[in-house]
Subunit: 117 residues, 2 copies
């Protein structure tokens, strides 16, 4: 499990991260809220911990897990160039739609055979 992307590919792990974003939780709380077997929770928490997504603090027999920002920031950073891409394309779409406002000569269908979408 090398990359942060593989870590967040697992739905249960995303659910756990989603829980922890509001506040820290014990393993048992996560177990109850997500209705997930305890070993499953512990195993996913281990993966998340070793990848730096969460850290734990001992509180008697409990372990309180809380979020750490770095790995998700890494995902955020990876998205940066694509954000630029799609803002450009929203602009292009808007310009296109603007042109649609004009008198509207009816166009022929120019789609070619084998082209999708």
């Amino acid at each position: 499990m090398e990359s942060v992307f593989e870590i967040i590919a697992e739905p249960n792990r995303r659910a756990i991260l989603g829980l922890l974003v509001s506040s820290q939780q014990s393993v048992g709380e996560i177990e109850r809220r997500l209705r997930m077997p305890q070993p499953t929770v512990s195993k996913h928490l281990r993966v998340l911990r070793e990848a730096g997504f969460v850290e734990s603090q001992v509180d008697a027999q409990r372990r309180l897990y809380r979020l750490r920002p770095e790995p998700l920031q890494e995902v955020d950073a990876w998205l940066a160039p694509f954000r630029r891409f799609w803002s450009v394309h929203v602009d292009a779409l808007e310009r296109h739609l603007d042109r649609m406002e004009e008198p509207t000569p009816i166009k022929k269908n120019k789609r070619r055979k084998g082209e999708d979408r």
Copy 2:
């Protein structure tokens, strides 16, 4: 392969998306630039296409693939609550570091056994 997260978990697919962000490419161009066997490229492109990350346009024997924004925007949307989380925590860290500027009484090590990080 249900979720967008599983799709981008694969490094070759992320590489392909990274290539396409600048401009559309044919399968052969992707193959050469990423030094990836052609069937590998085609298979990953199929996955990406079926998940809506890319679309293709026929150009003679070639197929030109280009990016579509929606699935990555979905990832971006998933990150939103975490962004709020880490901006809060950067603030907290800053306040903490500010306090460190003060006269600095030497503290004892309070870490408990079994606590990580």
